[in-house]
Structures are given as structure tokens and as C-alpha cells.
């Protein structure tokens, strides 16, 4: 019999903390970017400016929610929901601590990949439904980028799956009790992290929304809370990327002294800061460089990594 109250509580805690953290990350990113660029960033509202996201939210809710008359209305309205839903659905399989997971699926890794491949639709369809050439160009770029990076995102994390011998995320974390997978799977981690950055379209892979060339890319026509959903969705996918990196390669909740959930949160925080640091320091690639880099460098690297890992696992087993 399922303990419904426990499940409901887990869902509430994970959903609540994801959305709060996504909001707080907007403030954190702006502050950290400020620090690294020798300026202040938002520092007025609340201690250190930490209530800035709340103010932004009030502002964004009271803005005019405009649907362009030339847009494909139904699809245009649905799209922002797809971003947030797919990102939040992925958190259902994220094990924060032992027994602290909404759905401990046997195919957890594949569920995560499935959700991230569905998330591509939001970008593609959003740009198309806007019926605006810049948005359309942004979504065309997004298709090429997401399709190519999705391929080796899957391949790169198969090394960790091979070592753990399971698609279940809790089992993968449990298999890292004595050694984090980042040591035997360093190249797998590199490929996964780069693919994750591209999937979340973050700098240096944020060509679909390159503001210098494409206004705001696929979400140029979105305003009000619809734009807010895209914005929150992007931060949710950063959160998800750091959570998955921690689970697959950095031992999940394992760590001395502190309780498991705290370790998990600390490691995640480290990756969030790293992702923001990457944005603060690196320029954007050119689009052909992005695809060349993906197919000619990361893809062979991920394949060789998988081949070697498979060989070693097989050699050890016999």
C-alpha cells in the first residue's frame, strides 16, 4: 500500500523548493554576475536584495499579457506551460536523499532523457507559433542544437549507468558510496555537463536566444507571465542539470557528517554557481562552431568513453 501522505508531502516539498529556488536563482545570478563584473547588481529589496525576484514577479504578473494577432494562438499559449511542466516532471525522479524521491522509477535515467527531449518542443513550437522571423530563426537554431546535443547527452551518461548496472537513479547514487563516478567517468561528466548546458541553452551555448542577432530568439513575442514561464523554465533546467550532475557523477547525497539532503543541496549549489560563473566569463560560440564542436569533438569523446567503460566493466566481470 502506498503511503499517500508521505508521497504528497514529498511532492509538495520538491515542487515548492524547486519553484522557490528557481526564483532565488534569478537574484543569485544577477548578484554574482554583478560581483564578477565589479558592480553591485540588485541589492535594494530585502537583506542583500534577496527579495528582488518577488518584486520582479509582482511586476511581471501585472504586465499586459499580449498575444500577437499574427500568432497561432492556441499553440502560442500552450508553449510556456510545456517548458515548466517538463522541467518539473523531471524532478519527480530526482532522489534528494534515501527515500526522499517522488517516483523511484526503474528507468529514472531514461525518464529524465525523455522529459528533456520533450522540453525541446517548447522552444521549437514557441518560435514557430510566434510567426516572427527572429523567433523562427531562434527556434530553427534550437532544433539543430537540441537534437545534436541530446544524442550525446544520452551516450555520455550511459557510462555511469554501466558502472552502476542500473537505470534507477537511487541505485546509481548508492553505487557511488565509496567512489564518485566523476573519477572513472571524468570524460563522461565533461560531455554530460556540456550537453546539459546546451540543453538548457545557457552561455556559451545560448544561440537560440542570442540577443545581439535575434532580439530574444524564440521567446521574442512573449510578454508578461508567459515570458516569465520561459524564464523560470530556464532556471529550472539549470537546477535540474546541477541535480543530475550531482546524482550521476558526484555521489548524490553521500558525504560525511552532514545529513544527506544537506550534502545534496550543497553540491547542487556548487554547480549552480559554476554555471553562473561560466556565463560571467565565457563569450557565446558561433553557431557553426557549436555544431562542429558537438559532432566532431564531444560525440567521439562520449562514444570512446562509453566503449572503454563497457570494455572495462566486461573485463572486470569475467
Amino acid at each position: 500500500m502506498i503511503d499517500w501522505s508521505h508521497t504528497a508531502l514529498t511532492i509538495a516539498v520538491i515542487l515548492g523548493s524547486c519553484l522557490t529556488l528557481a526564483g532565488m536563482m534569478i537574484w543569485l545570478e544577477r548578484r554574482l554576475l554583478g560581483v564578477w563584473q565589479e558592480r553591485y547588481g540588485p541589492n535594494r529589496l530585502g537583506p542583500g536584495g534577496c527579495l528582488q525576484s518577488l518584486a520582479d514577479m509582482i511586476k511581471i504578473f501585472t504586465k499586459e499579457d499580449w498575444i500577437p494577432p499574427f500568432a497561432d494562438k492556441a499553440v502560442f499559449v500552450i508553449t510556456p506551460a510545456i517548458v515548466v511542466i517538463t522541467a518539473l516532471m523531471s524532478f519527480a525522479v530526482v532522489p534528494v536523499a534515501p527515500d526522499f524521491v517522488v517516483a523511484d522509477l526503474n528507468v529514472g535515467v531514461l525518464f529524465f532523457l525523455a522529459m528533456s527531449s520533450l522540453a525541446a518542443y517548447s522552444v521549437i513550437i514557441g518560435g514557430w507559433a510566434s510567426n516572427n522571423k527572429f523567433a523562427f530563426l531562434g527556434s530553427l537554431r534550437a532544433i539543430a542544437q537540441l537534437l545534436s546535443y541530446e544524442v550525446f547527452m544520452g551516450i555520455s551518461l550511459m557510462g555511469a549507468v554501466l558502472l552502476a548496472g542500473s537505470f534507477n537513479l537511487s541505485d546509481i547514487v548508492e553505487a557511488q558510496r565509496h567512489q564518485w563516478f566523476v573519477i572513472p567517468q571524468f570524460f563522461g561528466f565533461l560531455c554530460f555537463f556540456m550537453a546539459g548546458l546546451a540543453e538548457a541553452h545557457r552561455t556559451p551555448f545560448d544561440m537560440p536566444e542570442a540577443e545581439a542577432e535575434l532580439v530574444a530568439g524564440y521567446h521574442s513575442e512573449y510578454s508578461g507571465m508567459k515570458f516569465g514561464m520561459f524564464f523560470v523554465g530556464e532556471y529550472l533546467s539549470i537546477l535540474l542539470l546541477s541535480a543530475m550532475t550531482v546524482i550521476l557523477f558526484f555521489g548524490g547525497w553521500h558525504g560525511p557528517w552532514l545529513p544527506p539532503a544537506v550534502w545534496f543541496a550543497l553540491k547542487m549549489f556548487g554547480f549552480i554557481v559554476l554555471i553562473i560563473l561560466i556565463r560571467a566569463t565565457w563569450p557565446r560560440f558561433r553557431f557553426d562552431q557549436l555544431l562542429t564542436f558537438g559532432w566532431k569533438i564531444v560525440m567521439p569523446l562520449a562514444l570512446i568513453n562509453l566503449l572503454l567503460t563497457g570494455g572495462i566493466v566486461l573485463w572486470k566481470a569475467t
Binding site: D3, L110, L113, I125
Partner: protein
């Protein structure tokens, strides 16, 4: 104890209700794929149909097949379809209207009726397997693929390789002309 929200611990009738809902969604979405004049909307319905189909696989215990259904069909292949169709532009609706004449329905309808007859026969004779099929886990699938069906896997990969080389060839010639 591991908690799970959707694993098959729920009572049987809930699973059956979920199955019929998913089946109805698949049916309606597929119907809209065929009848919708707008190609991109039709493809979006096809995506919905594929997701619903994945849910049906999941309910039948084939979690692995369900995940692959979404990753490969729902994710990769349909994105490519939409990519191509998006380039058709707004004229596509008019063209589709011209193609979708009543006479175009005759052939597919007859073929579908044959299938319906077969299903009706199976239901009438009571010769149907139960919903709870044996659980094909990913390990079982893998052992089958790399054991007795290894030649099939190799043939499929040989089939894919010419496709890959062909795509490379076409892309290369294009880029040389572009220079």
C-alpha cells in the same frame, strides 16, 4: 520502503481505467492527425498520440519501451518532422485542403475496415490475451537482442551505416557549393 506514485501497486481497476483513458487519448489524437488541415497541428497531435502510447506501454509493464517511445519517437523523430514541416510555410494549409478530398478517404477506410473486422472477430471469439503480459525488462530485451537476434541487430546497423554515409555525402557536396 521505496515510494512510487505510479508503479503498478494500485488496484487493478484503476490501472484499467488509466489504460482506457490513455487509449481514448491515443485514438482521438490519431484521428486528429489524419483530419487536421494544418500540418504542424497535425504533427503536434501525433506527438500527443505517441506520448499516450508510451503511457499504455508503461501500464502494460514495459517501462523500457515506454521511455524509448518518448525519447526516440516523441523526442527525436517528431522534432525532425516538425522541423521539415515548419519550413513549408502557411501555404501548406491550402494545399492540404486540396489534397484531402472525400475520394482520398476511400482506400484507407477500406483497409481500416478490414482491420476492424479482424479486431471484431478476435473480440467475438474471445481469443484475446489478458492485459497483464509478461514484463519485458530492459535486461530481458538486451539479452534477446544480443543473443538470438544478434544478426538482426547487425543487419540494422549495416542498414543505418549507408544512410549515415549518404547523409554525409549530401551535406558535404552542399557545403562545397556554398563556399
Amino acid at each position: 520502503m521505496r515510494l512510487s506514485l505510479v508503479a503498478p501497486v494500485a488496484r487493478d481497476w484503476t490501472m484499467e481505467v488509466l489504460f482506457y483513458i490513455a487509449a481514448a487519448v491515443t485514438f482521438l489524437a490519431t484521428l486528429r492527425v489524419i483530419t487536421h488541415l494544418h500540418p504542424v497541428h497535425a504533427l503536434l497531435y501525433l506527438v500527443v498520440a505517441l506520448i499516450a502510447l508510451a503511457l499504455i506501454f508503461y501500464l502494460l509493464g514495459a517501462q523500457f519501451a515506454a521511455a524509448l517511445e518518448i525519447i526516440i519517437y516523441g523526442g527525436a523523430i517528431m522534432v525532425l518532422f516538425i522541423f521539415v514541416v515548419m519550413l513549408l510555410g502557411p501555404l501548406a494549409v491550402e494545399r492540404e485542403k486540396a489534397w484531402l478530398t472525400p475520394t482520398a478517404w476511400v482506400g484507407p477506410s477500406i483497409l481500416a475496415l478490414v482491420l476492424l473486422g479482424e479486431v471484431g472477430y478476435l473480440i467475438a471469439t474471445g481469443d484475446h490475451t489478458s492485459m497483464a503480459v509478461a514484463e519485458p525488462r530492459q535486461k530481458g530485451i538486451s539479452i534477446a537482442l544480443y543473443g538470438p537476434y544478434i544478426i538482426g541487430v547487425e543487419l540494422a546497423s549495416m542498414l543505418l551505416l549507408p544512410g549515415l554515409i549518404g547523409a554525409y555525402h549530401l551535406g558535404r557536396r552542399l557545403s562545397r557549393e556554398g563556399r
